[in-house]
Symmetry: C2
Subunit: 313 residues, 2 copies
Amino acid sequence: MHEFDLITALLADEPPLPDWVRTGPGDDAAVLCPASGSEWVLSTDTLVEGRHFPAGMPPDLLGWRALAVNLSDLAAMGAKPSGFLVALVAPALDERWCRGFSAGLRAAAGDSGARLVGGNLARGPLAVTVTVTGTVPAGTALLRSGARPGDVLFVSGRIGAAVAALRELEAGPEVLAGLTLATVPEALRAYLLPQARIGLGLRLRGRASACIDVSDGLLADLGHICEASAVAAEVELEAVPIAPGVAAETALSGGDDYELLFTLPEATDAEPLRADDVPLQRIGRIVSGTGLRLLDAEGRDVAIGARGWSHFQ
Amino acid sequence: MHEFDLITALLADEPPLPDWVRTGPGDDAAVLCPASGSEWVLSTDTLVEGRHFPAGMPPDLLGWRALAVNLSDLAAMGAKPSGFLVALVAPALDERWCRGFSAGLRAAAGDSGARLVGGNLARGPLAVTVTVTGTVPAGTALLRSGARPGDVLFVSGRIGAAVAALRELEAGPEVLAGLTLATVPEALRAYLLPQARIGLGLRLRGRASACIDVSDGLLADLGHICEASAVAAEVELEAVPIAPGVAAETALSGGDDYELLFTLPEATDAEPLRADDVPLQRIGRIVSGTGLRLLDAEGRDVAIGARGWSHFQ
């Protein structure tokens, strides 16, 4: 199939672009008009077949995942999504695959504000790189570097369900066969349909002192906050909302959760942050020093092994 | 080598970021502060090993190419480069490779204004996706869609040298062995060190009615202008600045030139567009209708075969 016909298939079901997209797909570049007073937030993330998603992933689930993990980075910055670009590398493509993939992108975008504004197609081993853009009022982006001793540490949702789902998927490609966005079983949802916490990120602006999304694993990502903020952290193991049936060590180092991990100055009222669909749990606090401590209910240190994963370890 | 050490190596020689980069690499996303009144221009392009560059490409040459082909898209929009993000997929990386690659990125950025603001590393078959951002004063982006009958057609530089260089490279990986940015022989420069025509793109703002960069091949890219503008074009074959020793058919359909192909309303003075280092050549005109005609010196139709390439043909 010709590249330009594939692009047509990818764009076939897109609704009209909003006014702030001056030029969408089809020119050398997209042209976007930022709201005055806003800063632009940009992130990019690649998913490679066999490493960041299983072979045989249905195209709509791949589209969802490729966008959702990028939107999660915007959520962690407190940004409102605006545009995204998709650089798709695939060994072969047909119209059906393209339509499924773009349906997945649209479903993940939902009502977040994210619109497909450009992209690129290339032939090669299957991999998807999405670049997302979002906006924040000037000076309000949530950084990793603002945590201070005395701050309290929160996490949204539950930790560990994604790594448990991933282990089910590793049983073989038949687990994925025939799945669509509408038919993903509950046990696989945490991995296959990650939810970027955009709304929570917006509520955290002006309140959180630091924020990150849990992609490498809760302890590894907490380590990123501590390093960027030059502080240490204490986590109360029994307070961590671990998914049922998942071992604590697995959950804390598993990654792929795409929940938000954030710190609040001690006097901050957490109530305005809550929404029915996103549980929040206080799991520890920031202290001076370096490193992480895991504490049991009596305040004693708990030893734990792995601390998240690296793409190149 | 650990992912975070590789990122350190990639960023080791970067000069301090300018003020308009509020947050650079190292957080969940980059934060950029646009100049008021500007629109944002965004483009993304992937290079896959063995398809968009030969296996064995030295890392500095890969870095140059990956950024330059993206900057060329900004040039075609008349945009001034601002930031770029690099999503690098590689089977293995070491510090030396990372430093070479980032040196190539910096060299390609030159004084264009483009600064590395973020990225992503993943393990997999070698491929680089760069996403570039640039700015234009509101409403001044050069689109493909503005060509009108009566406009004259220009191209910068020379056409066909890149495809000739690519054929030399296809002789085998030994042609590339040991090459660096500083030692690329003249015969390979057009392919290995493409020059994004940023300055020309800026001069074209407010003057050109349509513009595109020649990446798929001059005739294919002219076809894109004609289709987007709902016009036809006549090209005078003898006026096309074809590189010495390259057959016209090869040059016109070869691609990878990264020159600018643009149209000017007939009364436009082309003199202010000229600069010493970028030859400009009038090669034809826009007419009403559809399709392309190639004309010889006597105004007779010339038949020509291939019309550029598609990534999925």
